[in-house]
């Protein structure tokens, strides 16, 4: 198999997800704004951002959500299916920041025929938490596989 996925049975509650770090550039912010269709100037216009009282352009929330999705399925593999995600926004993510994505499994359980895990994640920038929250992922099971 070219792409592997984790099985629910192989996940342990309280295990950490591997940390993923990403250098954020002006290009990261702007390609994110365009790909997510969020053309509010705060996400691409430096002068607009300064007038709004922030030091530089900043990542839009939809891109933040995209990085959360990527971080979680990078870990689970493509058969991990996002059921729910919830996050609180904190410090802005600017060009020059390193976005450090961390997470851990907090619960592993069954709901009917679904094999689920709950993940807590916290994405950090130099000034603190950029976003933190929880997600529920449905995973493949070795039973009946």
């Amino acid at each position: 198999m070219k792409y592997s996925s984790l099985y629910w049975e192989d996940v342990m509650a309280s295990q950490d997800l591997p940390t993923l770090s990403k250098e954020i550039t002006v290009t990261t912010i702007i390609i994110g704004a365009i790909a997510t269709r969020d053309l509010y100037p705060l996400h691409h216009d430096f002068r607009f951002a300064q007038k709004a009282g922030v030091r530089d352009i900043l990542m839009n929330n939809i891109t933040t959500g995209g990085f959360i999705g990527r971080y979680l399925t990078d870990w689970s593999g493509p058969e991990g299916e996002m059921r729910r995600m919830k996050f609180r926004l904190g410090m802005p993510c600017h060009p020059g920041d390193t976005l450090t994505m961390t997470g851990k499994v907090v619960k592993r359980y069954k709901d009917g025929d679904q094999h689920l895990v709950d993940i807590e994640y916290n994405f950090l920038v130099s000034e603190g938490s950029h976003c933190r929250g929880t997600a529920t992922i449905s995973m493949p099971s070795r039973v009946g596989a």
Partner: protein
């Protein structure tokens, strides 16, 4: 003054709003642009051979991409959805003219496939009384959007909480 803003906001809770139809159908090109931005290598989004043999039988859109599909185009302008206009105009009466997203919650029910056309209905879900925050005084407003495909099947329910506030120093009314 501000308490009447709160009463007006409360009156908006649950009010029916016009449905917003996505300008573009879900397509592989926009999915690829998304993956390029996030550097997301999930083969369900990009590898047609793998995706065809998956349980979906096709490439799917990344679930968090849901809210991108219904963002109105910059040109030709179709204006902001009515619910946002009403919310912002109501808040502006109390001098609350700044907006920041604080919380996002999404529940996913089925994936979007290329060819699907998304519609969304956004309603005011909850509001708080005026509160002091570190940014200034304001109301937290939660909007709930229900996304469906063109077969009217439920795709996602999303709740976004906004703080609509009066910047500190620019008060007091």
């Amino acid at each position: 003054m501000s308490s009447s803003v709160y009463e007006e906001l409360k009156a908006m809770i649950g009010q029916d709003q016009p449905e917003i139809l996505a300008t573009d159908r879900v397509c592989k090109q926009m999915i690829r642009h998304w993956c390029e931005a996030m550097e997301d290598a999930n083969p369900l989004y990009s590898d047609e051979e793998y995706a065809r043999h998956s349980k979906y039988g096709s490439i799917i859109a990344p679930p968090p991409m849901i809210w991108s599909w219904v963002i109105p185009p910059l040109w030709p302008s179709t204006g902001r959805p009515r619910v946002w206009e009403e919310l912002l105009q109501t808040c502006a009466k109390g001098g609350f003219d700044q907006v920041i997203d604080t919380d996002v919650e999404m529940e996913f029910y089925r994936p979007l496939l290329p060819g699907d056309r998304v519609s969304a209905e956004t309603k005011v879900y909850s509001v708080t009384e005026e509160k002091q925050t570190y940014l200034g005084r304001g109301h937290f407003v939660t909007a709930e959007s229900t996304y469906r495909n063109e077969r009217k099947e439920l795709v996602c329910v999303q709740r976004v909480t906004l703080l609509i506030y009066r910047a500190r120093g620019s008060d007091e009314v």
